[in-house]
């Protein structure tokens, strides 16, 4: 992928593709899951052709999601490790929300909010996967007791609601912080964006002369 001159690579092409597969799976799972969760959403089943199609697809989408999310996890887990900066950042959450980010202590590639989204999803998606397997009627309907499945379906629903809440935060944050969408659609950000939101990351790139997304990326910084 080519990038405009003077920009910083926020996400590699692999990351972009991986993210959007994950995102698409998640959205479809949300739509079908909600349709099966509450009658007011059942009309969403029409998006999948029929209720039967929706019921059949949902678990397979779940399998796609966990595989895809695993890719994201491998790419992101290191940059999402918690550190002291995150505590400081979190303390200034009010300033973040108030768009006074220049007053917020600088953070690395991801801020504490993004890390919370990451770890939240990293926790919930496996739970959804495991509980989803237990209630996957076609293949595993007879594998466990009905009581186990009742527990599973309750956890699955609660976990899904949690995941959707995180997702709403995630999507809103992407829309709110301008330039984020471009970072996820085209992979690059302006140096100013990086300086504003992820100054430590920006500085580490600058120091290493890397074009991003990580300081040890081999390509030379472009003029």
């Amino acid at each position: 992928m080519s990038y405009p001159k003077g920009t910083i690579v926020r996400n590699s092409t692999l990351t972009l593709v991986n993210h959007w597969i994950t995102g698409l799976c998640f959205v479809l799972l949300t739509l079908s899951g909600l349709a099966m969760f509450h009658p007011v959403f059942f009309w969403l089943s029409n998006l999948f052709g029929s209720g039967q199609w929706m019921r059949a697809l949902h678990p397979w989408l779940g399998v796609c999601l966990i595989v895809s999310f695993l890719g994201l996890f491998i790419q992101f887990w290191r940059d999402n490790l918690w550190n002291r900066d995150d505590v400081e950042w979190a303390k200034s959450l009010d300033k973040v929300l108030d768009n006074r980010e220049e007053e917020v202590p600088p953070v690395g590639r991801f801020n504490a909010g993004q890390k919370a989204v990451f770890w939240g999803m990293a926790l919930i998606i496996p739970v959804l996967f495991v509980t989803g397997i237990l209630i996957w009627e076609v293949y595993f309907g007879d594998a466990t007791s009905i009581e186990t499945q009742r527990v599973a379906v309750l956890i699955h629903s609660m976990a899904a609601i949690g995941a959707i809440l995180i997702w709403i935060t995630h999507v809103y944050a992407a829309l709110w912080v301008k330039g984020s969408m471009r970072a996820m659609l085209h992979g690059w950000v302006t140096p100013g964006w990086a300086h504003r939101h992820h100054r430590k990351w920006f500085r580490s790139l600058v120091a290493s002369g890397s074009p991003g997304p990580t300081p040890d990326s081999t390509a030379k910084f472009r003029d």
């Binding site: 349709a35 969760f37 379906v153 609601i161 935060t169 302006t190 100013g192």
Partner: protein, 307 residues
């Protein structure tokens, strides 16, 4: 929802609107299974297969008189046999016809996410409308009696319909009609309770002090009831639940979680919307770009000096 035109429904799965309720004066029916009269001949099973055109797979002999060995999509009723020896060593062969209990408060219907896949008629019959079934298996989890079974062929859920097609034209269910010893009776729920009372009195005379009616109030009563000689211990009869109820887990899932989750999602969405109005977008300013440029140039210079 053309099917609501029958105006016979009192409950419909995954439907929040109230079904037509003007024709409310319908006779509530019930099937009474008098276990003390049952000889375990399986005529009910045979008639059920015959009337409903069901022929489940022929299995192997598995060391029991239960054949097939469990309910399945083609076996809507099943005789279950329990050899029970009491404390005195007296042998009783407790034989029970298993199948849908047609609960007044059906757990399957409560759990079902597909609108109109499970309905309850005003006469009390709980019926699965296959056209609407999506095969999710939630009814299996909702049922306190472990009755519905999902077909591996068409991925739809099946169980006893109480022969709604026969009852609908004024006949009794096929199992009721065929029962050689009259162990299965059919009529209005009130009449069946009266008859059960007579039977229980007779059983007590014969020494079954704990004889009683199984019409569990935890599920609002059922439209299939049992007369048991040991009503104090229903589980003796091949695991008939002592206190059947819709699982608390299912209650939580289909009860409080639904509104709470909706509220949560709505709260999140509204919160985001409000924030976007109040705080506005978080935009990268020219100043940010300038700072960035400065730092980059500085680094570049340092870098050149070094080299």
């Amino acid at each position: 929802m053309a099917d609501l035109q029958s105006q016979d429904y009192i409950r419909r799965s995954a439907t929040n609107l109230t079904p037509p309720s003007v024709r409310h004066h319908e006779l509530e029916v019930a099937k009474l299974i008098d276990v003390s009269r049952c000889i375990g001949c399986k005529a009910c099973q045979s008639a059920c297969m015959e009337w409903n055109n069901l022929r489940p797979e022929m299995e192997e002999f598995q060391g029991a008189y239960e054949n097939p060995h469990d309910l399945n999509p083609g076996t809507w009723t099943l005789m279950r046999f329990a050899e029970y020896e009491d404390e005195q060593g007296n042998l009783e062969w407790l034989i029970r016809k298993d199948g849908c209990m047609h609960c007044e408060d059906p757990g399957c219907l409560k759990a079902c996410p597909a609108p109109g896949a499970i309905v309850q008629y005003a006469n009390g019959i709980v019926d699965f409308i296959s056209e609407n079934c999506i095969g999710c298996g939630y009814c299996v989890k909702g049922c306190p009696f472990n009755i519905p079974r999902i077909s591996a062929q068409d991925h739809k859920s099946y169980k006893c319909t109480l022969c709604s097609d026969r009852v609908g034209v004024g006949l009794e269910p096929a199992c009721v009609k065929t029962c050689p010893t009259g162990a299965i009776m059919f009529g209005s729920k009130d009449d069946m309770k009266d008859w059960a009372g007579e039977r229980i009195a007779e059983l007590k005379e014969r020494g079954f002090q704990n004889a009683g009616l199984y019409d569990p109030p935890e599920v609002g009563g059922t439209h299939v009831m049992y007369v048991l000689h040991h009503a104090d211990k229903p589980s003796l009869y091949s695991g008939l639940p002592d206190k059947p109820h819709i699982s608390a887990l299912v209650g939580a899932w289909k009860g409080f979680l639904k509104p709470v989750a909706l509220a949560g999602l709505a709260f999140a969405a509204v919160g985001a919307f409000v924030h976007s109005i109040v705080a506005g977008p978080n935009e990268t300013t020219e100043a940010d770009e300038a700072h960035a440029r400065l730092e980059m140039e500085k680094a570049k210079r340092n870098g050149s000096a070094e080299s």
